[in-house]
Symmetry: C2
Subunit: 118 residues, 2 copies
DNA sequence: TTAGTCGGTATACTCTAGGAAACCAGTATA
DNA sequence: TATACTGGTTTCCTAGAGTATACCGACTAA
């Protein structure tokens, strides 16, 4: 999302924001949460299956985001020696842990929509 | 953050993402979480105090983001008839509710840093 | 009268996340 | 031979988020 999320001048407050920045860096952007959500739902998916499921994402973005999620240990990538080759992406237990946050976002989003809409 | 966060093709999964999108729209961007964090910490702050506390933010961005947070009922704005005029921004109970998510992000960010760093 | 505070606006710019479309190698089927 | 599927990569481009800087009116204290 953001390269540098500013800190508060106040040290306590500043430390808090540093950690929040880390979380946003891992989960931020347009496609990470959709990817994690889909993978959390199906547990494993192939590249093309993800692309079909996540409407609107381009191969470029999917490839890029999966790499970063892999680097952050939220998903694993396994090449299967079939013909044609298939690549299995699987959510890790750690990846599941992030869905706790996504669940929070979901609950809050639902409540917010109700509150603001009426 | 993002104007349109895509949905999953799968309906269950898609509904979930719509609500998540709402939450991200309200809390996203570079400055909203810092503002809520600072306001959650101090409860009330004046415009200039916020600008001082949130290092790096410009008056334009602060003004713009406060307006949107006010529109979403996360903060209130009160003009006080002093000389010179002072404007008090205060976090609402509803604004506090969003800090539950921020807390989640914080906890996860701390754990993530520990996991990935070593 | 000049400089300073407050809470902002207005204008013009930069920069980068993301999008569109073409292309790639390897294998298989018609 | 050509077309299609797999899982991508490369290039070019744009919209919009965020930045920099100057400015505003109302007031006051020196």
């Amino acid at each position: 999302m953001d390269k540098k999320l500013s800190a508060c001048a106040n040290p306590d407050c500043g430390k808090q924001l540093l950690a929040v920045r880390d979380a946003i860096e891992v989960l931020g952007g347009k496609w990470r949460i959709p990817i994690i959500t889909v993978l959390g739902y199906y547990k494993t998916r192939r590249f093309k299956e993800l692309q079909t499921e996540i409407t609107g994402i381009t191969a470029k973005m999917l490839s890029k985001e999966l790499k970063e999620l892999e680097a952050n240990q939220l998903v694993t990538r396994t090449v299967q020696d079939t013909r044609p080759i298939t690549v299995i992406y699987e959510i890790t237990p750690y990846g599941y842990s992030s869905s706790k946050i996504i669940r929070e976002l979901y609950d809050w989003g639902v409540a917010h929509r109700e509150k603001v809409m009426k």
